[in-house]
Each structure stands twice: as C-alpha cells, then as structure tokens.
C-alpha cells in the first residue's frame, strides 16, 4: 500500500509541471480510427468563440496558448478534447459515437461495424457501464444485456457475480460463458472493472461458433482500455472510491426477551442468564476502498498503457474481506510504415484474504445460538455447549486462521503483419500462470480442540495452473463497388496443466505455528492426517475459417466453421465440426423505405450455429486403474489398498452439441434516437454429457459418463434504448432490456447402452431434513421443486398435505411418493431498466432490475420458522399461527416454504458532478460522485434477498434456494473521485 501512495505522489508531481504563457501554432489532422481523414470537423479552444474546420485531408492549423483546451467534434463521432501543452503538431483520431451505426463491435478474431452484424451480439461501451463500486466485469453490464442474467448471490467480497446466458444448456459442462480478455481466455476478475473499455457478448450460435467447443454458454469479449494515440499525449487518470456496506436484511431471530417470555409461558427454552445478539456480534458495517491509476503515453507508433488497481474490500462478516492488486501494462509498437504491429501485454494480479472462521456455516451458528447465552465462559474462554452442530460463532471466527493468496501472471504478445492492403497475418502467443496457496489452522481455543480434542489442526493447499495458447490468423478484407468481403482463417492450440497438493495434520504441541510447521503435528504419524496430490493436462486444438460479405450494408452474410479437437474425449471422437451461417437484410436501405427519414435502420437477421461443450474433466474416456485406500481391505493380516478401475470405461465419449437458431431485428429510428434489437432463439443441446445411472451389474459402477439426452431452450430478448433528450445541457438516455427463457429437458437416454432415465433428483436440504429439493424430469423444465404440498394444518399443529390422489391427508400418513411439482426456481422473465441523465455538469443515473415468474425456497424459514426445535433459536415468526394453528410438526420440507420471488430492485443510483476543465490547474477532468448499490427491493418474498439464490455448482439443477448457510448480501454506499491529468 505504501508503495502505491508514493507512486501516486510521484504521478501528481509530474502533472504539476510548470508552463509558461506563449502563443504557439498547431498543425494537424483529424482522422477516424482507421486513419481516414475527416473533413469538416469542428475545432475550438474552450472559452473562446473562434471555430476552425478541418479541410480536405482532415488538416487544420491555428494558434493557441499553452494550457488551452482543444475541443474537437464531428457528426457521428465522440467529442474529443485535449489540453495543449506546447506541441506543434497533433493527430486527432475520433472514435465513432455510440449512436452511430458504424460503431465497432468485437466479434471474435476481428471486428465489424454495428451495421454489418448479422448475428446476435450485444455491445456495451464504458460510458454505459454500471457506475460506482463494481465488483467485477459482470456487474458492469448487469441488466444491460438482454438474455444475460447476472446476479450476485453472495455478499462475500471474494465471490464473483454469477453469469448465465440464455438458460441452462449443459448438465455436466460449464454453465459459465467463455470470457476472452483481449483475445486470451480469462475470467470476470482478470482485469479490474475500471480498466475495461468495452464488453461484447456473443449471444447466439452463429456468433459464438467461431469459438467452437467452449462457446455454448456464450462468449464475453472484454476489451481493455488502450491508448488511442494522438501525438505525444500522456494522460493519467485516477479513479478512487470508498464505500460503506450494511447487511441488506437481517433475519429476525428471537431475542433474549422473547426467550424469557416463552419460558414464562412454559416453553422449554434454556435461560442462560445473559443477552447476546449473535448476528450483531458477528457482523459489522465495513469501509472499503479502491484506487485505480491508468497511464496512457507515447505516440501513434509506439505507445503505452499502464493500469494499477488496488482494492481493499472488507466484508460484513468479521474478519472477512479481500485485498487485491491488479497491474496491467500494454506496449504497442508499429514499424515498417505500419506494416508490422507488435503488442505486448503483461497482467499481474494477486488477491489475498485472511478470513478467519467467517463462513456460511458460521452464519448458521450465529442464527441458531441461544440469545441468552454469553460470548465467554467464566474462564474468559469462548462459551461452548455440547449440542449437535452447535458451536460459538465468535470462537469459529477468531480461533480459525484461513489465509488465501491467489497470484496470476498473464503474458501475451502478438505480431500483426500487413504486407499488402487489406491483408493481416497475426500470431498471438500467451502464457497464463496462476497459483493458489492457502493455509488453514485452528488454535487450541477452537472447538476442534476444546470439544473434539484434536489439539490444533493445520492444513496447506496449493494449486497451480499453466495455460499456453498460440493462435495464428490470416485476415483479408477487400471492398469494391459496394461489395465488402472479409475472410479469416486460423489455427488455435491450447495446452492447460493443473497441479494440486494438499496436506492436513493435527495434534500439535503448540498452536503457535498455525499452518507453518505441519510436521510438528502427530496425526500424520498416527495415520490420521491427510495428503493428496494431483496433476492433469488437457489440450484443445482448433482450425477455423470465416467469410463475411455485405453489399452496401444492405445485404449481409457470414459463414464460419471451426474444426476442433479435445484430448478429453474418446479415441474415436476427439474431433468435432462447428459450422455457422447468418444473413442480414437492412430494409431501411431499400428504395421503398429510404424515403422515410424516420427509419435509420431496420435490419432483419437470421442465424444458425453449432457449438459444443467440452467434458468437465480430463481422462473420462481412459481405461485406467487406481490404488484406492477406501477400496482396500484386511488381507493376510494387513491392510492393503484396493486396485480398482477408475470408472466405467467409455471410449466413445464425444462432444455435446448445441444447435441454435436465432432471428432478430435491429432498428434505429427518428435520427437514431430510438434504437435497439429484438431476438428470438431456440437452442437444442444434443448428446448431453451426463453421469448416467447405469445398471450395476453389468457395469462396475452405478454411474457412467455418457452422451445422453437432449435439452432445449427458447426465448425472446428485447433491447430498446431511447435518447429522450440529447441537448447539450440536458441529456436523458433510457434503456430497457427484457429477456424470457423457457427450458425443457427432452430426453435422457442413450441408445448404445439402451437405457433411459425418466428423472433425477437434485438439491439437498441438509440435515436434519435430508431430502432432495428438486426433480429434473424429462419433458419438464430444469428447476422444478419437488415437494410435499401443504394445504393446511390440523388441530394438533401437524401439516395436512395433498397426496398423489389429490386427497388431503395428515403428513404422518404421507410417503415420499406423495411429493409433487411445485414452482420453479428459474425466472421466466428478466428485466433491466437503465437511466442516465446529464444536466450541465451534473450526471445522475439509476438502474432497476427485476426477475419474474419464479419461486425461491426460503431455507431460513424452513429451518427456523418452526417452534419444534428448542435446542436452536428460531425466527420471531416461528410461533405465528400457520393456517390458524401453531405448528408442532417436525422440521419437514414442504411447499409452505417455497415462495413467489418476483422482485424489482433499485440496483444502482449514482449522482456525479463534473468540474469545469482546469478548475484545478493541470487537471483536465474532475468528477465526484456518490453511489448506492442494492438500495431497495420491491418483492413479496419474505426472506433476506430474493436474488440471493445461487444458480451454479451444487445449485445448477437446484436453482432458487436461498440457503440457510450463506454469506448474506449487502447494501453499499460509495463516494468516489475521477481525475484526469
């Protein structure tokens, strides 16, 4: 941290360099981003009335005073300004404005203009990003891309947002979109949000197919900020903010007075004599801060971008948080008259957390702990009690050491050789190396020792990954007589290695070592420690080609194919082909509409594409064995490990394939004032990779990875933006995104093995209820709850349920066969509404986000809104009558706890003020803002946060569970500063 402050001070000094008053002449030219001259651009010095225009060739010439601010504007381009510090020549490169149809869109291995696009691609530029304290790249575009559902179910600063595109499209494969950072695979945290210029999302199959096997869940292309060089320009930007977090909502648990009132009424709670609000004890309202410095330097031939992002986010749980440092440098150089472009980029990032024992399980302990109990016992130690799964949460937090460090280095270089006009030959090489190192220990005052006599525990875990990538591409573009043709061919080679080591020991003579001297423990010698190591490698090789053609941006077509092979598949099925084709027709350019000036664009698009999903693990098709201790036995008087096949062998394992059709309409009306797009898609995933239940015998193991089954998704997406006001003093831009999705599992069967699975169960309540929460059945949508349906409570306080014949029966007479479908955890409709206002120097924005047509299992109520369990605390509502009765039923998973979870959330409100340029000398731009996140939720849902249900990992097929063990979501208030020197 100290180092960063010194660096900041240094930068500050550089910027306050002395200048003298002197009249200078400036000669230069204005071009677009491709170098084409712009004629008629308006140039002026701020505060002066004189205006100049760029002439033929884009050139201009005038006199100025050092320190003057030059303003450049032209129709269809973003305004540009620069402080003149004594130069005599200047090359101004204007970026096409967002509203314009020739906005550049990144499409994977290349770019197209908005007007040329024929598939479903969403592009969000930095000016439209979510403002304020943004967690990661996902949150930047939350609610701004129709069909991309982004949620933040956890308040843990170290957790990323969850992203899902167009529904659930694989069972075994990843649900996460492929994230490409400047051409290289990464994740939403690879670069700091402040360091991102634009995010493009390839939504449909025809767009994504060029990425072949990793693209079923969509592709997110992140472009980092680059120096868009003008001559000798050096700019430094600082962005910083501080934020305060509070719990979004607290569960209303009974307090000590509730306990005592109930005890007086004869309820058998224990009064332990004190008062403790356990939730308050384990949480706080933490301050976090974030600093980002970006430096642009160099000239049009050699330029440099450097970005440093430091962030220290604390969590609402005591001790939790994450400290992070991301550094990125990019060096760009051109030679041989621009024929050879070289680029080198280095991204180094590290994240560190020291969370102690703050965990979702700790949260459970804070919730269930007796409010009349004390923190410490009479010896000043943590007050512990002997009960089932019942530990002092503060003891857990403070007596656990849990340190994690993540480090990553990404080095990439590219050569782009342009021997003749229109031809580009490019080679990209990159290596990504990262490692996780964590250490965990518990002290002698932790329950591991005070209750379980382990005498201190300690473990270390280290993981390392190396990803090598090489891509060779050739691109040729030719325009003639209104025809434009763009051809791409390429080869991609990727090699990933993953290694892991873990050791665990206990029974230490002292707890002073924490995890730093594992050999001091005795459990390993006694055979009770643990140790594991692992290594895997996988390769992915692809050949790809693409042709794009358009005639005057009226008729457009694009076709691509990727032939890709993965080492993870069976010998005979390593390679797959992934073709795509798409067509576009801009009706507005037809003569019969050209006369209607109100219609700027009316483009019909249609596309078809095939993408694949890779097996989630390597070696699934190998015929291999392992020595396993769990398969061992006592043979000839000693214990030997068992030698067993690793899995049921399936050398025929092959690609999961998704076929997607997309039709869309892009429109722009009323002088580009109203614009957006509509899309309808259907996707069919075939050969789903699934751990199929197979009969054993004949098979050795009762499940087996097979290509089995088919799933479909269909949906409608709309994006409508309106520039309601775009006067220079008052601007209001409003945009709405709407997306629907309908999922259906069509079948789960495999011909080769002649087996069919009608359904599988998913999700788990956990003890002491222990039953699956969801059922995934052929012919139905993923996400259906499967539960005993409650219809009342009898006079004894027992549930009445509806049995499978539809009769009302006491729950004690029911069996698991009486469970039925009840609601679904995946929203039918997702909505985003974004607004930004500019009034003179004030900017104001707010976003609403909502999800509708889904249910959430409120696990907090399931476990704690029932007075049966006197060993644990309960919600204040536990004694409220249900169907007019007080419950006396055992804890049981019933439909009563599944609630409609429609919500509309005021997600982000930001108010900013931009000072006049040079209000402080040397400062080109200064903006201050205040912002709030997750401010208000309109919902009938009774839990903490309807959006806090996870859709990933264990919850992929059990979506819509607000888990009892969790890191609760927070509300965040931020004040920040943007400065450009």
């Amino acid at each position: 941290m100290k180092r960063i402050i010194i660096l900041l001070l240094l930068l500050w000094n550089v910027c306050f360099s002395i200048y003298a008053q002197q009249r200078l002449r400036l000669n230069g030219k204005v071009t677009d981003s491709t170098g084409e001259p712009i004629v008629g651009a308006t140039l002026s010095i701020e505060g002066h009335n004189e205006q100049y225009s760029s002439t033929v060739g884009g050139t201009f010439s005038f006199e100025y005073d050092k320190g003057d601010k030059l303003l450049v504007s032209s129709v269809g381009y973003l305004p540009f300004s620069v402080v003149l510090d004594g130069q005599s020549t200047l090359h101004v490169q204007l970026q096409a404005s967002a509203e314009a149809l020739d906005e550049v869109v990144v499409i994977g291995y290349g770019t197209q203009t908005r007007g040329e696009i024929t598939s479903s691609i969403a592009s969000v530029k930095s000016e439209d990003f979510t403002k304020g304290a943004v967690k990661d790249a996902g949150q930047l575009i939350q609610g701004k891309v129709a069909g991309l559902r982004i949620s933040t179910p956890s308040g843990d600063p170290g957790e990323s947002s969850q992203v899902n595109l167009r529904g659930l499209n694989s069972i075994n494969g990843s649900q996460n979109p492929l994230v490409i950072i400047d051409g290289i695979p990464g994740d939403l945290n690879t670069v700091a949000p402040e360091d991102i210029e634009s995010i493009d999302v390839l939504k449909d199959g025809s767009a994504a197919a060029i990425y072949g096997t990793r693209a079923t869940a969509g592709v997110i292309l992140v472009t980092t900020r680059r120096n868009t060089a003008t001559d000798n320009r050096t700019t430094i930007e600082y962005n910083g903010y501080t934020s305060l977090q509070t719990l979004f909502r607290k569960p209303e648990m009974m307090d000590a007075s509730d306990y005592r009132r109930l005890i007086a009424d004869g309820v058998s709670y224990d009064d332990l004599g004190t008062e403790t609000n356990w939730i308050d004890e384990v949480t706080r309202n933490p301050l976090s801060h974030n600093h980002n410095v970006t430096l642009f330097g160099g000239n049009s031939r050699t330029n440099f971008t450097g970005a440093i992002n430091y962030r220290d986010w604390e969590g609402v749980f005591l001790k939790s948080g994450q400290e992070r440092l991301n550094v990125r440098t990019n060096l760009h150089h051109e030679m041989f008259e621009g024929k050879l472009k070289t680029n080198m980029q280095l991204i180094s990032r590290s994240a560190k957390s020291n969370n102690g024992g703050s965990s979702p399980y700790m949260w459970r302990q804070a919730i269930i702990r007796n409010p009349t109990d004390q923190l410490y016992n009479e010896h000043g130690k943590w007050q512990e009690r002997d009960a089932y799964f019942y530990d002092n949460p503060l003891g857990m937090i403070h007596e656990t050491i849990d340190d994690r460090i993540f480090r990553e280095t990404r080095l990439s270089g590219s050569l782009d050789y342009r021997p003749v006009e229109g031809l580009s030959l490019k080679m990209l090489l990159s290596r990504v190396q990262n490692n996780n190192l964590s250490g965990n220990a518990t002290t002698f005052n932790h329950v591991n020792t005070t209750k379980n006599n382990l005498n201190g525990t300690a473990s270390r875990d280290t993981r390392a990954a190396t990803e090598n990538l090489m891509e060779l591409t050739a691109n040729y573009t030719k325009s003639f007589d209104g025809h434009k043709i763009d051809m791409l061919g390429g080869y991609s080679w990727q090699d990933d290695t993953f290694e892991q080591f873990y050791a665990y020991n206990f029974d230490f003579p002292t707890d002073n070592y924490t995890y730093n001297k594992l050999e001091a423990g005795a459990a390993i010698q006694r055979g009770l420690g643990e140790m594991t190591s692992y290594k895997e490698n996988r390769k992915l090789i692809g050949f790809f080609a693409r042709v794009a053609y358009n005639y005057k941006e009226k008729y457009m077509a694009m076709a691509s194919i990727r032939r890709e092979g993965s080492s993870t598949f069976g010998e005979n099925n390593k390679w797959g082909s992934f073709p795509a084709i798409s067509l576009g027709w801009d009706i507005a350019k037809e003569d019969f509409l050209a006369a209607i000036g109100e219609i700027n664009q009316l483009k019909l698009r249609t596309g078809f594409g095939v993408t694949g999903t890779i097996a989630s693990a390597s070696y699934m098709s190998q015929t291999s064995y392992n020595f396993e201790r769990a398969q061992g036995a006592y043979i000839n008087g000693k214990w030997v490990p068992g030698f067993v096949p690793t899995r049921n062998f399936n050398p025929d394992l092959r690609w999961e394939r998704k076929h997607e059709y997309n039709v869309g309409l892009d429109f722009s009306l009323f002088d580009n004032r109203v614009y957006g797009s509509f899309d309808y898609y259907t996707r069919q995933v075939k050969d789903l990779l699934y751990q199929f239940n197979v009969p054993s015998p004949p098979y050795l193991y009762p499940n087996m990875m097979l290509n089995a089954g088919e799933m479909s998704n269909a949906g409608f997406e709309a994006l409508v933006n309106v520039d309601a006001f775009r006067e220079s003093n008052f601007k209001w831009k409003t945009g709405i995104t709407v997306a629907t999705n309908k999922n259906k599992l069509i079948n789960l069967s495999n011909d080769q093995f002649n087996v069919t699975v009608p359904f599988f169960e998913a999700g788990y309540t956990g003890e002491p209820i222990q039953i699956a929460t969801h059922r995934v059945e052929v012919g139905r949508a993923v996400g259906d709850f499967y539960v005993l349906k409650t219809v009342g409570v009898d006079d004894d306080g027992k549930w009445l349920i509806e049995n499978k014949e539809g009769e009302t029966i006491p729950i004690s007479d029911s069996s698991p066969d009486d469970r039925q479908y009840y609601g679904n955890g995946i929203p039918d409709v997702n909505l985003g509404w974004n607004n930004s206002f500019h009034y003179k120097n004030i900017d104001f924005s707010f976003n609403f986000r909502g999800s509708f047509g889904h249910q959430v299992l409120n696990m907090t109520r399931l476990y704690y809104e029932n007075p049966i369990n006197k060993a644990y605390n309960a919600l204040k509502t536990a004694y409220d009558p249900v169907y007019g009765q007080t419950l006396t039923n055992d804890l049981v998973y019933v439909s009563h706890y599944i609630e409609d979870a429609d919500f509309l959330k005021l997600d982000n409100v930001t108010l900013g003020y931009t000072f006049k340029p040079n209000a402080i000398k040397g400062v080109q731009n200064l903006r201050m803002y205040a912002s709030g996140f997750n401010l208000m939720t309109i919902t009938g849902y009774k839990g903490l946060d309807p959006e806090a249900a996870s859709y990933q990992g264990d919850f992929t097929f059990a979506p819509g569970i607000e888990h009892r063990d969790r890191y609760p979501t927070t509300r965040m208030f931020t004040v920040g500063l943007n400065v450009t020197f």
């Binding site: 021997p419 064995y625 036995a633 490990p641 003890e767 306080g797 698991p816 055992d890």
Partner: protein
C-alpha cells in the same frame, strides 16, 4: 493476389513450425498425458498384486454394514430392538427412521437401496476379477488361481445372500463380459444359486483361520450355508434343519473356534484376536473406515466420556420393551447397552445419564430427550475415538454356530440337546450366578417374555398382545440377548413370525405385513433395467 497467397502460405509454414517447436508433438496431437491414474497398458499385474486386486470385493462390505444408513440400520431399525427417535436438534431426516420402524418404507427408501448397491458392487468386482484370472490378464499359478476363484465366488455368494435375504427376487450375474441387462430371478432361484455356489467352492477354499481373517475360508462358507438353511423355510418354504446341523457340526468338530472367555472381547477394538470369530468385516480407524455406529448412537455429550476426537450425532437407542426382557443378572445387558450415569473422563463428573425410557419415535411432535434410551455400547468405544472405530463386525461367530444348531434341534423335537447348547452360550453371561445360565428344554418351548404392544408416551404398553403365544419365543429371546446390535434381528423375527404380527414401541403390524418381509426392488434400478418387476405388495 499471388503475393497474398505467398504470405498466407509462409505464415502457415511459420505457424506449423512454431507449433511443432512448442508442443514437441505435432499440431494435431490430442493424446492425453495421464499423471494421477494407472493406465491399463502401463501396468501388468501379477500374483504379488493379488491382495490389492481382491481387496475391493471385501471393501464394499465395510460401508455396507456399519456405514451411514447401512445394513445395521436396515436389520435393526425394522425390528424390535433399536429405534432412532426424533431428537431435540430436530433430527428427523424426513421421517426415514420412522418409516423403517413402522415398515412404511417406499420404493425409494435409501437403506435397502444402499444394501442393494453395495452388494452388487461387491458382486461385479468379483465377476471382473474372476474374468481377469480366467482370461489370464491377471496371470497366476494354477493353484493360486483356483483358490482365488473359489474365494471370490464365496465372497460373491455372501453378497447374493444379502440380496436373497432382503430383496429376494434379484438378477444373477456371474459373467463380467455379459453387458446385456440382466434378467430377474425368483427368490428360490437365487437361493439355489447361492447354495450351489457355496457347495461347489467349499472343497477349494482355504481352511486357514488366522491368515484368512476377514475373508471367505471354508468355515465362513459353511457358516453361511448353515445360515441360509436355517432360513430356508422363509426363503423357499422348505425346512432344512438337518443341513443346519450338518454344517454347524463340521465347524464345531474342526476345533478351529471356541467361545471367547469374555463376551465383551468378541466386540472390542482388538477383536481380530478373538477365537470366536469365524467371519468378520474388519474395520480400522486408519485404514478401514466405516464403523460409525458410535457416532449415530451417542449423545454429543458422550464425547466427554471417551475424550473423543469427533462430536457424535445422538440418534438411535434401545426399545425400552426389549430392555425389560433382560434378566438383571445377565451381564450382556451391561455389555451391550450404555445406561445410567456416564462420567467425564477428565473431571469425573457425570456427563450424561442415559435412561431407559423413550417417549416415542416422533413425527407427532414427540421429541426424545438427549439422554432418552439406552445406547449401543457393545462395540466398545476406545478413549480418544475418532469418528471411525477399530472394532470389527463379527458377522459369523461360534456362539451363532451353537445357537443355529440349537434352533435346528429345538425345531426337530430335541429341545433338551438344544438346551445344553443354549446353556453353554449363556454361561459366561451369568458368571456370578451360574445357576441362571442353565436353561431346560421345557423352558425353550415357552413363549417370549417380550411385552409386545404399542408404547404410549408415558411408557405404558397398550393393545397388549405380549409374546407368550410365540412358538419357541423363549429361544427367540435368547437370540435377542446374545446377538443384540449385531445387524440380524430382522431376519430372526421374520423366522419366528414376530415381524409380521406383533406391535412394539410405535410400530403396529403393517397392513400388508407379509409383503414387508422383503424390501422393494429400488425404484432407480427398475428405471435402469426394465426387465425388473417390483416385489409383491409394493406395486
């Protein structure tokens, strides 16, 4: 244009060269590099590896018998000795224990499915190894091969016996190469198969005792045969009492086993040295995980009594009506059940006092207090126990051989001979009062002392139909006292007709009681194999 082609061409050349350089292999090589698995082409097993190759066949029995919701629960919770009531922490697990107790299990009940899966896992592994030996992919000398195949077939027969006893009508698969969906067999066919297999392999099985501990030797095979003949009436409606006597007599005459001096020692954490054990499923705190009986039975407070390195879950306990049948001088009452005050190992204070009374199984809002019910203490819990005990499960032991023979004698009118054997078994339980060890043939002909009937919350037993009418009920009581907590009570009370007809604790005879003597074919298995039909009474 030519220039363009040339450039593309040269780029491809450079690229191909580079990729060859980088990946060592060629541009399109997708062979997997394997690090943490043994590829079959790289490993040629031999005789030396035989222990590790055979081990997995036995490993399945470990998690099966005493693991989570394993065979122990299947046999005990469906019977009249052991219950898992709802405890104060709300431990109900969606009523699964109540359904076991009340015989309301469904076709998706986990406990019987667990037994099915683990038994077939053992069977399929045995089939695979037999194939490897037969095909010589596991090359062995001829004598080693025939002994190994005999042992594997005997172990496989043991697994089929579990299916015969619990699910009855199950498929029989013996050839690993056969990948057709297997056909269902009748319970009688399964019975014939198991008996034939065992009879065939007996001549080839080892007679060794010490080195074959935990494995199928000739004595284990004979004990298993005796067990199957004992229940032949239940399985196929035939009485095989003389065969029971013949098989048990072989074991008795061999002199290889004897009753242990102390009853406790048969179940201790070092019981592998007990001379009484014929076949055991060995467990080990370090190498052979799976014995978690103490975790399920003990209250969390009991960890103080044993300085445990784990927090027990506090669940199952004895049915009070069963405890009432014990003679207070019967040492087995105290060797089998933890009762009364339990003392903190460090301070000497009372940590918890287990009382006999249990108000009910739960489900009606009744919650059994943390200390309600005597706990299973038969498998002695050592000081400092982790969540895995060392105690082996003695599946067949010498006392059982004597009692099987006694039952066969009793049922064939030789009650006085039977009484001699029963008295022999009782002797060590009544050391201070030896007279009480003696039983007469006339006593064995009496009914049961078990006060069968529905237990109210206050402990009174209503709908009292007692045990006096049970034929050889007294002998059933003897089995109960000797073998409590040995994962077999269900089989015994089915054979004596109690399972189908009596009430105990919060159990009443099921409306389709006879069908409940078999568990259903697991629903998932029927889904996977359409050739399987559900057992009668579960359609």
């Amino acid at each position: 244009m030519k220039r363009i082609y040339k450039s593309i061409y040269s780029t491809i050349l450079v690229g191909v060269g580079l990729c060859g350089f980088l990946s060592v292999n060629s541009c399109t090589n997708l062979d997997e590099e394997v690090f943490s698995e043994v590829l079959s082409k790289d490993f040629k097993p031999g005789e030396r590896d035989l222990p590790s190759i055979v081990a997995p066949v036995y490993a399945s029995f470990r998690s099966l018998m005493f693991g989570w919701q394993g065979y122990f629960d299947l046999q005990e919770e469906s019977a009249d000795h052991i219950i898992t009531p709802v405890r104060p922490n709300g431990w109900d697990d969606a009523g699964t224990y109540r359904r076991m107790h009340q015989h309301n299990w469904t076709t998706i009940q986990w406990q019987p499915y667990n037994t099915w899966q683990q038994a077939y896992s053992s069977i399929t592994k045995a089939n695979m190894i037999i194939m490897q030996i037969e095909e010589d992919t596991l090359p062995l000398p001829a004598d080693v091969a025939s002994a190994a195949i005999a042992e594997l077939r005997a172990a496989r027969a043991l697994a089929y016996y579990l299916l015969l006893d619990n699910h009855g009508n199950v498929p029989i698969v013996t050839d690993y190469r056969d990948v057709e969906l297997p056909e269902q067999k009748t319970r009688e066919e399964v019975y014939r198969f198991v008996v034939n297999e065992l009879t065939e392999v007996v001549p080839f099985l080892s007679e060794e005792v010490a080195s074959m501990y935990g494995r199928m030797n000739v004595w284990a095979a004979k004990a298993l045969l005796a067990k199957i003949y004992l229940n032949a009436q239940v399985y196929i409606g035939e009485q095989q009492w003389e065969k029971v006597i013949a098989e048990t007599e072989d074991i008795i005459q061999s002199g290889a086993f004897r009753l242990d001096i102390a009853y406790k020692d048969v179940f201790s954490s070092t019981n592998e040295s007990s001379p009484e054990i014929i076949f055991a499923v060995p467990y080990d705190e370090v190498y052979g995980h799976g014995n978690q009986l103490h975790m399920k039975t003990l209250s969390p407070l009991s960890r103080l009594v044993y300085n445990m390195a784990a927090g027990p879950w506090g669940g199952n306990c004895a049915v009070p009506q069963f405890i009432d049948t014990y003679d207070q001088d019967d040492q087995r009452l105290f060797d089998s059940w933890l009762q009364g005050a339990q003392y903190n190992a460090t301070t000497g204070d009372v940590a918890i006092t287990y009382v006999k009374e249990v108000p009910g199984i739960g489900g009606d809002g009744t919650v059994a207090a943390d200390n309600a019910g005597y706990r299973l203490g038969k498998y002695a819990i050592k000081n400092g126990a982790t969540n895995n005990l060392d105690n082996d499960y003695p599946m067949f032991r010498y006392a059982d051989i004597l009692m099987m023979k006694a039952e066969a004698l009793l049922r064939t009118g030789r009650e006085n001979e039977a009484a001699l054997l029963v008295s022999e078994v009782r002797e060590r339980a009544f050391k201070p009062v030896p007279d009480k060890a003696l039983v007469t043939g006339a006593e064995l002909l009496k009914g049961s002392m078990y006060n069968y009937g529905w237990q109210e919350k206050d402990g009174t037993v209503n709908g009292n139909n007692g045990g006096a009418d049970i034929e050889f009920g007294r002998f059933l009581d003897e089995l109960g006292w000797e073998f409590a907590g040995e994962a077999r009570r269900r089989q015994d009370i089915i054979r004596f007709g109690v399972f189908q007809t009596k009430s105990w604790f919060n159990h009443r005879p099921h409306a389709r009681a006879q069908s409940r003597t078999l568990f259903p074919i697991p629903n998932d298995e029927i889904n996977k194999n359409p050739k399987l039909d559900q057992n009668p009474g579960y359609e």
